[in-house]
């Protein structure tokens, strides 16, 4: 699906609102300032996914989009392993950076991911009047490309390109760098753009 410039702007604004709410919750959890990038929208041909995500090891907390649409795609809290350890340390008041990634980090990530993604989807639901709910989370701590291609494979046979929109959330004080990435299924994307276009007409 090709997005028009207007549609892309609208989705960017939606991502902006969702990510701002997610950033607020992260900021509260860390008791520190969190800044966010302008949401980036990328249409990526499958064969070129490797140019965007590589072999780097990352933690991805993944939620399927459910609610008014079943199997609506995915929303992902993406964070490097180092940042994930700093995240847990900051939340639990620990300082040891030279430790391995443990079960404690896993639980913290699932919890933080859950809170942030819920905030993101609450905000978009309020704006759109269209409810997307997160599934229970699944976690992968491995090559980013391997995790993402596995999610895309589940979107179906006919998918040759995907639309990713991602917003970077950064806490400079604690050097925590993360992303919220949305990978909508095509029918979800259509529904969202329709709703956004209706909203723009009515204002």
């Amino acid at each position: 699906m090709k997005l028009s410039a207007v549609q892309a702007d609208a989705i960017q604004e939606l991502g902006n609102i969702g990510a701002a709410h997610a950033a607020t919750t992260l900021s509260q959890m860390l008791s520190s300032t969190v800044s966010m990038s302008v949401p980036a929208i990328k249409t990526i041909d499958l064969s070129e996914l490797g140019n965007h995500l590589g072999e780097e090891s990352a933690a991805m907390v993944v939620f399927e989009l459910q609610g008014e649409i079943q199997h609506g795609g995915y929303i992902i809290f993406y964070i490097t392993k180092e940042s994930a350890i700093r995240l847990t340390n900051t939340m639990l008041g620990m300082t040891d950076m030279d430790r391995d990634f443990t079960e404690m980090d896993q639980s913290a990530l699932l919890e933080v991911g859950n809170i942030m993604v819920s905030a993101f989807l609450d905000a978009t639901a309020e704006l759109l009047g269209f409810i997307m709910l997160p599934s229970p989370p699944a976690l992968s701590i491995d090559m980013a490309h391997a995790a993402m291609e596995s999610l895309i494979a589940q979107l179906g046979e006919e998918v040759d390109e995907v639309l990713l929109f991602s917003t970077e959330l950064i806490c400079e004080e604690h050097k925590i760098d993360s992303d919220i990435i949305m990978l909508p299924e095509i029918s979800t994307l259509k529904r969202i753009t329709e709703l956004l276009e209706e909203m723009m007409k009515s204002t």
Partner: protein
Amino acid sequence: MADQPSQTPQTAMIGIGEYRVGSFPMMTIGLGSCIGLTLYDPQRKTGAMVHIMLPESGGRTDRPGKYADTAIPLLLKELDAIGCNRRALIAKIAGGACMFEYFGTNLNIGERNTEKVRSVLKELGIKVSAENVGGKVGRSVTFFPANGGKVSIRRADGVTSEL
């Protein structure tokens, strides 16, 4: 000179649904549920690699490398065309992991991919000499046709192995 492989031949990166045929090194990075399949002709020291994403094409023809049922016949055709002997080909399979334990429908794609690749190869009379499949682990795979068809696998934790 033309027949001599250069000292440091360029490694071809093979994205999802892509394939290459030749004697240069080929690589797929970050395989999750996808399959990196290599076919090697030991006499000609050449081969092919494909990055398969799904088991069945369902009649789609635009990206044959993406599906196991269309990718394998295509590689055989390409290898036939350069004079490889099908009987001599050696197949190696890597990938087919399950990166996320549970997600509602459509599971387990990694396993279904692996099984489909095995069954298509068997139907077409191609021997599988080695596999590194399954589990919950990402793999980057490099294939060296000029170097005995060696396949080297690297995981995110840095552990490497050879097929």
